[in-house]
């Protein structure tokens, strides 16, 4: 950045009398060497816009001592006889332009000379300032070379000097934005003040502390503040001139430089100049608003007020923030119960297909009839409205019917995944105090007072018909257990009304209707299934229940999408990544018109390959950030090529009826751009955890701007100035390693940046390794796109270019695919232990027996630790790797075998036994 303007000052005076160019020229010649007086006749009056424009332009022209005298004087003469004198001077030449104006107009005295080395020192200081890294929260555009300018006005304090109160107020703003107590504030190019914002101090103590801070060199602050006092009017013989404007810098000295002119009036004019590379205009608008509010509050506060109680947002700005987060866009939502809406479709389109599974299909009429049949059976089993009924079923036709039947009874369903461990099932059954569980599992854990019933036992027409009662919409529809990162799983109680509101928020935008075919891909224990099942059946669509085998095999799933002409697909990004791979082999059905992403952060960049084959006008991609506690979804961001190319992290604005706040750890507002914790209010907030009043009170808090509660998500995010949310991962994905705070999601994003990397994961692994003092290290995993034979060393180099050393994973392991949980999210627990010896060496066998030696060869081929009972194909092995394994066995001097034997003996243990047996045979 050219530094001339940053080191120039400019002063404009309105010369009422005494603007005689000849006299001014004579005086100038005596006061300064080589400088000229330029006279411009402006064809307009002194108070016209044209005059202001010309004056502004002269005030913004730098004077470079390297190409000229380093100062300039311009006399602007207006049509009405008035004139302005503008003096521009470089700090290496002249310390105070007012002195030169005085010399020109009043007495031709030569202003004090500036020491020769001063200019060089200032330039060095600027270079130091330019090395300060642009803050994330400034929302700057990397590489931008332009600057911005923002004017504001701030009421003055009658007591303390503005220079002090403004410093103190700006300190509060910066402390909030940087989430740090220590503030460094530039006062000029060379010097800065450092002080601490202690929320518990009093205003008086704080002001005293700021006042005591002494400007010191050696710091490179991001933000500078200059307060100037307006010099006196100049009068002399036949001369009367008054200062109009003083610019202590013409271009921003710091990444963001604030100037306030203290002219003694009750409202002071201020200007912020900023580099777009570090600060967006919208961010600066918010910052100045905060500065003005903080200043007003600080100067108006009782000296004993706690600093932490000084507001940085006035009521209007708070409201604006809330509206930005989506408040006030709630549509009128009728009080609907899920089963009532499904019944309405059964009346309106009784013969339309509702649910299909493999060869079976039910129309809406049949679905409701069978639901009533099951409901009658449940009633006869003692289920009454308000009860909770456990449902532990694989995806099937019966699953959907049973869920509908539970709701029809007025009861609440508690879904459980039959694939969950017995302990987890027992815990859920106990915690939810279930007395009845519908399951086909013979091994569902028994518990006193709880009975199980098979779905087929609910069928049959022999019972008294079920008479649906009139039930409230605020009753609970389901309780879904979420594990979270700490503590035991807790049941989230979600009312019917919330699900209705979700469909209201999305139906029109997504164009959901009777022509749509949805998949039920996810486990009923994962709330994405709530969206899939009821989203479909509440909009009259057809729900295709995906059999287990098809949900595990992307090619099979793709075939099902085509066969069933699926239009609405809901996927976790991890599962969709596999489907994209399948799409390259064989094109995924063009019937799919909407893909909804949920459950995990979405990396938008790889989606451009999908968009190449499935353009956005044919298939809309929508990234939805969601939380079980706020009814499946919170926001929606349509992902187009624009987002994919930018690698956008936006998850979009809040759904109509939902709203967001981003708050700091003290639960105070932060401006757009600044990251904080995401809070969610509105129609989706579940309101409670089952039987956990304390946890409920911790997580569901009164909404400050709307009736009802807001949910504290534990997710990090920031609002963008246009109201979209950027999701930045879990707050608890911040781990600590050797004292560093590390964001795992950030490392993952860098791995994903690397060429050919299609998927990535990073975990912090405790090693118990004595050599590693921390006993922990970062393990990274990548999946190369298209089966590219990528090089992890290159990925590491790429990551090391962007990440500080402590954030570069200690190991990087290439995997054929990332292991997924039953919910389709990355299963970090199943990521294999990496080899730490280096990529080509492999660990030496632990023993001399066949099994140990075989295991060492396997590990060399896979590149990570292998257990004796790990299945070759489950580890990601394929026939190609099988061939490599045979070669490696030969190299290691071990007996070979025909490849098909690997399909029969899929583990190290089994294969070793087979080889030993084969050797033993003559």
């Amino acid at each position: 950045m050219n530094d001339t303007g940053r080191l120039c000052q400019a002063l404009a005076l309105r010369v009422h009398t005494g603007a005689d160019p000849e006299r001014l020229r004579r005086n100038l010649a005596l006061a300064a060497d080589g400088a000229r007086l330029w006279v411009e006749d402006v064809p307009a009056g002194a108070d016209s816009g044209t005059a202001a424009l010309h004056r502004e332009r002269e005030l913004s022209r730098p004077a470079d001592p390297r190409t000229g005298p380093g100062l300039r004087t311009v006399l602007l003469r207006y049509e009405d006889g008035a004139a302005d004198l503008v003096v521009v001077a470089h700090r290496a030449v002249l310390a105070d332009p007012y002195e030169l104006a005085q010399a020109l107009l009043v007495e031709p005295v030569r202003p004090a000379a500036v020491p020769r080395e001063h200019g060089e020192r200032l330039r060095t200081a600027l270079a130091g300032l330019d090395r300060t890294e642009a803050p994330e929260w400034g929302l700057g555009t990397p590489g931008a070379t332009t600057t911005g300018l923002h004017r504001f006005s701030v009421p003055a304090d009658s007591g303390a000097p503005a220079s002090l109160t403004l410093r103190a107020a700006l300190g509060l703003v910066l402390a909030r934005c940087t989430a740090g107590a220590e503030v460094t504030l530039g006062v000029d190019a060379e010097r800065a003040l450092t002080f601490t914002v202690d929320a518990s101090a009093t205003v008086a103590q704080y002001l005293e502390q700021v006042d005591r801070a002494v400007p010191a060199t050696g710091r490179a602050p991001l933000v500078g503040l200059t307060t100037t006092e307006t010099p006196e009017a100049l009068t002399g013989e036949g001369v009367k001139a008054e200062p109009l404007a003083h610019r202590p810098f013409l271009d921003p000295v710091h990444a963001l430089s604030v100037h306030v002119a203290d002219d003694g009036s009750t409202v002071l004019g201020g200007v912020v100049q900023h580099r777009h590379s570090a600060f967006a205009d919208a961010s600066v608008a918010w910052l100045t608003g905060m500065l003005v509010t903080a200043h007003r509050a600080l100067t108006g506060a009782d000296p004993g007020t706690r600093v932490g109680d000084i507001p940085l947002f006035d009521e209007e700005r708070l409201r604006e923030l809330a509206v930005l987060g989506g408040l006030g866009r709630a549509p009128e939502v009728p009080d609907e119960r899920i089963e009532q809406v499904v019944r309405a479709w059964a009346r309106n389109t009784p013969d339309a297909p509702a649910v299909s599974f493999e060869q079976q299909e039910l129309t809406y009429r049949q679905l409701v009839e069978r639901g009533d049949e099951y409901a009658a059976a449940l009633r006869d089993l003692g289920v009454v409205p308000g009860d909770r009924v456990g449902v532990c079923l694989e995806r099937s036709l019966d699953l959907v019917v049973v869920l509908l039947a539970v709701l029809t009874c007025g009861a609440t369903y508690v879904p459980m995944d039959p694939a969950y461990p017995a302990d987890r099932l027992a815990y859920t059954s106990e915690d939810a105090e279930l007395t009845l569980v519908v399951t086909e599992s013979e091994t569902f854990p028994r518990r006193d007072g709880a009975r199980t019933v098979r779905p087929d036992e609910l069928a049959g027409n022999g019972r008294e018909p079920f008479e649906p009662a009139d039930l409230p919409a605020d009753a609970a529809a389901y309780v879904i257990y979420t594990s979270g990162s700490t503590g035991r799983p807790k049941g989230v109680v979600v009312p019917h009304r919330n699900v209705g509101a979700l469909m209201h928020a999305t139906r029109d935008d997504f164009g959901l209707g009777g022509d749509d075919t949805w998949t039920l891909f996810h486990s009923s224990a994962f709330d994405f299934s709530v969206w899939e099942i009821w989203g479909c059946l509440m909009t009259g669509g057809r729900l295709v229940v995906v059999p287990y085998w098809a949900s595990r095999d992307p090619a099979e799933f793709a075939a099902l999408l085509a066969a069933e002409r699926v239009t609405v697909l809901s996927q976790t990004p991890s599962a969709f990544a596999q489907l994209m791979t399948a799409d390259r082999e064989k094109r995924v059905s063009d019937s799919v018109r909407l893909v909804v992403f949920g459950g995990e952060p979405l990396d938008t960049r790889p989606l451009r390959f999908w968009l190449d084959r499935h353009p956005e006008w044919a298939c809309r991609l929508v990234n939805m950030f969601g939380i079980t506690e706020t009814t499946v979804h919170v926001t929606a961001q349509t992902v187009t090529r624009r987002e994919a190319l930018a690698g956008s992290r936006s998850v979009g604005p809040a759904l109509p009826g939902w709203h967001l706040y981003v708050l700091d750890p003290e639960r105070r507002e932060v401006p757009p751009g600044v990251a904080g914790e995401i809070y969610v209010g509105g129609l989706g907030v579940a309101g409670q955890y089952l039987n956990r009043p304390e946890l409920t009170a911790q997580r569901f808090l009164p909404d400050p701007h709307a009736p009802g509660l807001m949910y504290r998500s534990g997710d990090r995010g920031r609002l963008l100035p246009d109201g979209r949310l950027e999701h930045l991962g879990r707050l608890d994905s911040q781990v600590k390693l050797r004292g560093f705070r590390i964001e795992l999601d950030e490392i993952r994003a860098r791995l994903l940046d690397a060429p050919d990397v299609g998927a990535a994961a990073v975990v912090l692994r405790q090693t118990g390794d004595a050599a590693d003092t921390a006993g922990a290290r970062l393990d990274g995993y990548v999946v190369f796109r298209d089966g590219a034979a990528g090089d992890t060393a290159e990925v590491r180099q790429h990551a090391a270019r962007f990440l500080p050393e402590h954030m570069v994973p200690s190991t990087l392991t290439a995997l054929p695919a990332l292991p997924l949980t039953p919910n389709g999210k990355v299963d970090t627990a199943r990521l294999p232990e990496p080899l730490t010896q280096g990529p080509d060496e492999g660990a030496p066998p632990e023993g001399d027996d066949t099994e140990s030696r075989l295991r060492a060869v396997w590990e060399k081929v896979f590149g990570f630790r292998v257990g004796p009972d790990d299945d070759f194909f489950a580890l990601g092995g394929n026939s190609l790797l099988g061939v490599r394994l045979l070669v490696a066995l030969r190299t290691a001097g071990m007996p070979s075998f025909p490849l098909p034997q690997l399909y029969l003996h899929r583990t190290v243990r089994a294969l070793a036994a087979h080889l030993d047996g084969a050797e033993a045979r003559p």
């Binding site: 064809p43 424009l53 010309h54 002269e58 913004s60 730098p62 470079d64 190409t67 000229g68 005298p69």
Partner: protein
């Protein structure tokens, strides 16, 4: 993809235009003012021995300046002969003093005559004069702005050459030689200045009409050199230009604004022809 295209692409920039009294120089100065630039305009303001037609006058230059001021620009004027090293240095110094920077240098000053002779009939004085104004004049200007532009790490020099810098014309050996040399100077200077973010390009207009408002008279002088009526000469050129009309001064100004603005930020060492397709034949 963060380029910001504004209606006034030269806002905040300062342009120095030589030969600004009339013709292409005047049209370019006006276009620069409209594009938001402040201007230092210069012309010779005197006739030259050996040039058989009157050159730009002080009055014409001030008229150009007045029109530019009406567009909102701040404009200074200075008289200078580009053959005079000291005068050129003073012009540049004055521009820097007044405006603090020079972003665009439009080397437009040039003469088309003495011409109209077979190559071996040109006198040594005629030959020297042509090269001194049309090539060396541009070099003197570049020499004078070089330090400021390289210090700024930004700048755009535009040398107004001609299609005569790309192809030959009968009976114009001096002019053709000078303009070819100017294109050569453009390429060499572009390489020297590229490390400093300073760009140098040549702008090659075809036959530009003698517009009344611009008071241009190149075509008239060329016709006179060739001893043909202007009307006939114009018709010959219209027929030779595939776009089937003569170039207007504004057509050249459009390219000059683009080359001066950041929109052409990766264009350097190039020749931009505005010739209605003439040299594409």
């Amino acid at each position: 993809m963060n380029a910001v295209r504004t209606a006034a692409p030269l806002t905040g920039k300062v342009a120095l235009v030589t030969g600004a009294a009339r013709g292409i120089g005047r049209a370019c100065a006006l276009a620069y003012a409209r594009a938001g630039a402040d201007l230092l305009l210069t012309d010779i303001g005197d006739d030259l021995d050996g040039v058989p037609y009157p050159l730009g006058t002080r009055s014409q230059l001030e008229y150009t300046a007045r029109m530019c001021r009406e567009e909102g620009g701040t404009v200074s004027t200075a008289m200078a002969d580009v053959r005079d090293l000291e005068a050129v240095r003073a012009v540049v110094e004055g521009a820097l003093d007044r405006f603090g920077r020079i972003d665009v240098l439009l080397n437009n000053a040039g003469i088309a005559a003495p011409s109209g002779k077979t190559v071996h009939d040109i006198t040594p004085d005629e030959w020297d004069l042509m090269l001194d104004v049309d090539v060396s004049g541009a070099w003197r200007m570049i020499r004078a702005v070089g330090a400021a532009m390289t210090a700024q790490r930004a700048g755009s020099v535009i040398n107004v050459a001609s299609t005569a810098g790309l192809v030959g014309y009968r009976h114009f050996a001096g002019y053709v030689t000078a303009k070819h040399a100017l294109v050569g100077l453009t390429k060499a200077a572009a390489l020297d200045l590229a490390p400093f973010g300073v760009r140098v390009n040549a702008l090659c207009p075809g036959s530009v009409r003698d517009d009344d408002a611009a008071e241009g008279r190149m075509l008239t002088e060329i016709a006179r050199s060739l001893e043909v009526p202007v009307q006939e000469h114009e018709e010959t050129f219209v027929a030779a230009q595939p776009m089937n009309r003569l170039i207007e001064p504004e057509d050249v100004a459009g390219a000059a604004v683009w080359l001066g603005s950041d929109d052409s930020r990766q264009v350097t060492g190039s020749t931009v022809t505005v010739d209605g397709g003439f040299t594409s034949r």
